[in-house]
Symmetry: D2
Subunit: 258 residues, 4 copies
């Protein structure tokens, strides 16, 4: 008989267990939602400091206004208002490589850069490592994830704030330190100065929290689920979906296929 | 020129605003993720008491083990491991009328039952209202949402705990009071005693928090997004998707169409 | 041991069976794709006449240009170009009650109207039944599905063509006849003349083909899957997703929450 | 004013155009659904021979029984029976790199292998090219897509049939010829004999039809949409979703997180 092992939810007629805890006696009212989300993936309860940094990341990623994914969710809700889950899912499906992927890409990039390196002892050491890593990336013809932003061209306001929270909580780990060093040194390799962006610093912070880098996109999606709920609530109160659709459809122009 | 009004995220080159706040100065590190999710929908920051009750609901709904939606998410991840967002979306798409809909149905049911009624002054008054409402539902040939559970046949352990948290925080509002009265009185109308289930009490609590009843399913989905991340993280560590698939496919039997 | 009965695909090491046929000997190269789609749901192979009508419906529903669902699919592809399946799924998720639901609603409406009625013997009989049904609908405060169109205000060009194909193939069944009678008579009940729309006539034709009315939306979704592939292919060749996004985001205006 | 160019659907009050054709005068009743799907992506109407090969591919890929994606769709329908589009979307979301990706991977692999090579003049030439390509792939530590199958270990019955249809229609192009040559020669490079699988031969045939290799997955998804409709229709008639869920949940075993 095949069995299906799990460390997550199980229940009997009078008890519900989750992560080896009693859901009602140990968790409800005692653990926050962000804490639980961390615990579900990392299989350990985060400390209050870790929770603060983790929730700051989720808050930073929750909503960025009229992104393509927010508009897709609203258009789906316009077409199928009977299925809130469909509109939410449609919004999350845009959480792929481009608009929501930088968090995971940056965390993974830093994680791989640190593998097989001794951690530097001082800022000069971090800078040297950063130069080495960025140079390699450049020579491979690739981009350094987490650098540059279409709107925040000089400075992404999230970056220093998240680094300050991490420092404040004693959680400025190797990923954030390497990311900072990339911020200080990339200009000498790439020939131009770009800001460290918010999605990237979030990826670095999540990696420093010990979360698996292959799943960092998942936290961006969780944060965005809250933001999309906000977008759909607003679509109910003050809809823009019809106008967004008409802005395209009314300006459609037929062109012959080439 | 069509404009697109929003009270959610907007940004300029050096500032990101969300809900009329400065994201980095006012929100990051200062507001929890659950708080922000509430705020995004309700357009007001919840009090600490409200936050505790709200997060207890999210914790209660986050993961229920190997539900159909969790299995669907894992099977999707098995088939398409390159797209975490697809697996998460597939899991959320099961958040419809049956397995995840009770929260919304129950909140809506209580909300509509309270419309046009003066709030009772004492327990006897609540009981009388509950008898009236359940009787009407029965006569319409419908079910009372939030009653009964396939596993917790006697008592759903979440129900008293969530009610205690609400009472403790001074948030035992009319929806929860009517729900309790239904628990005390339905047997005299329906002829059998059923437990108030956890999904139902969560819906009552969310409605008492003033959240729009048309969107209550959305909070169940948000909670479940965290649970599904846990399921997908476990699928990476200790996969069961292939075994779940084979448990069906190896026991397939061809039958002629009728 | 639980077994899982199916009349669809099964296979052994050297044979693949589908619907009780040998996939390679009986189906590939011998049955069209539309035919197979019909067969998979109805469990019988359609006749050539049925296939022609069925495929005319799918062709009519495949693509309606820049619909909300097409735009949602393109925006999702813009955000997550690595996941074609996600973009397609996002587009289909808009296939709900509003923009793609009329086909199913109309088929179901006609189906229910015909239950418990003897089929009329002549046009006058159909007209009398139509007046009865539309009057009942009106008195219940509901809309007659399949009437009216935002663009084709006078006449939906698909309607007479699909009816002509059905007549030509000897497939003008009771659903289409009742729908035509509604077209002739609704003005005397509703006080204004509306066109029979294309989505509605498609639902009537699918119901006349004997397909289960609870699944008519499914055929609209299948047709739309082909249309969405066309949209995504065009998004690769001549992208408009970024412009659609900017048309909204560049005209965003912050408003205080009420 | 931004305009949105398209060669797909546009409409005026009395005409609907699609691909530069009049939908009702030129397409409905005159073009098959498979033909239209091809046309929507390729922007040209396929010949009858091309249509036969193309539809044979769609028929081959439509349903493979209780695949992970079919089970995911059924579980989603069990949870949310109000949203057929959600169940269909959930099933399609599994159409990623593993279970449905071979078609695209194989078409792309062959396409890239042919770039920059003169087409061989005879079978010996094709064999030499195949040996070169497979050797390169092996040396890069990669797999040759389209080789091997978990069930059809000796011979995939779809492969010779699809090749015969292509030959019969005069459509045995370079992708299919290279794929055949890989079938004849890979053993001398890889040291063991594997069958050319059905998903792979479908990818080769689609590439020979001139369809863009970046979108081949899309045709597998379209085919699967029909199959999933069949699965969902069967789930209505003879449900297995609940049993599939219980087969997992009843055999869940709690294990401590490591």
């Amino acid at each position: 008989m095949t069995t299906f092992p799990t460390s997550l939810g199980t229940s009997t007629s009078d008890e519900i267990r989750l992560l080896g805890q009693d859901l009602t006696a140990d968790l409800m009212g005692k653990v926050g939602f962000g804490e639980l989300a961390f615990w579900l993936v990392a299989l350990r309860r985060p400390t209050p400091s870790e929770t603060r940094l983790f929730e700051a990341v989720l808050v930073a990623l929750a909503d960025h206004g009229f992104t393509p994914t927010a508009i897709a969710a609203r258009l789906t809700y316009l077409s199928a208002p009977d299925s809130l889950q469909g509109a939410l899912a449609a919004g999350l499906l845009g959480g792929g490589s481009r608009f929501l992927g930088v968090t995971e890409d940056c965390g993974t990039y830093l994680h791989e850069a640190l593998l097989g390196h001794e951690l530097p002892a001082d800022e000069a050491g971090w800078d040297a490592l950063a130069v080495e890593v960025v140079t390699e990336t450049r020579e491979a013809g690739k981009y350094v994830p987490g650098l540059g932003h279409p709107v925040h061209k000089e400075r992404d306001p999230r970056t220093p704030v998240l680094i300050a929270i991490a420092a404040d909580e004693g959680l400025l780990g190797p990923h954030l330190q390497l990311f900072q060093a990339i911020g200080r040194t990339h200009e000498q390799v790439l020939g131009r100065k770009l800001p460290l962006n918010g999605a990237g610093v979030c990826g670095a912070a999540l990696a420093d929290l010990g979360l698996p880098v292959e799943l960092l996109r998942g936290f961006a999606l969780l944060a965005r689920a809250a933001g999309l709920l906000g977008q759909l609530a607003e679509e109910r109160r003050r809809p823009i979906g019809m106008d967004a659709y008409l802005a395209v459809d009314r300006n459609a122009v037929y062109v012959d296929p080439i």
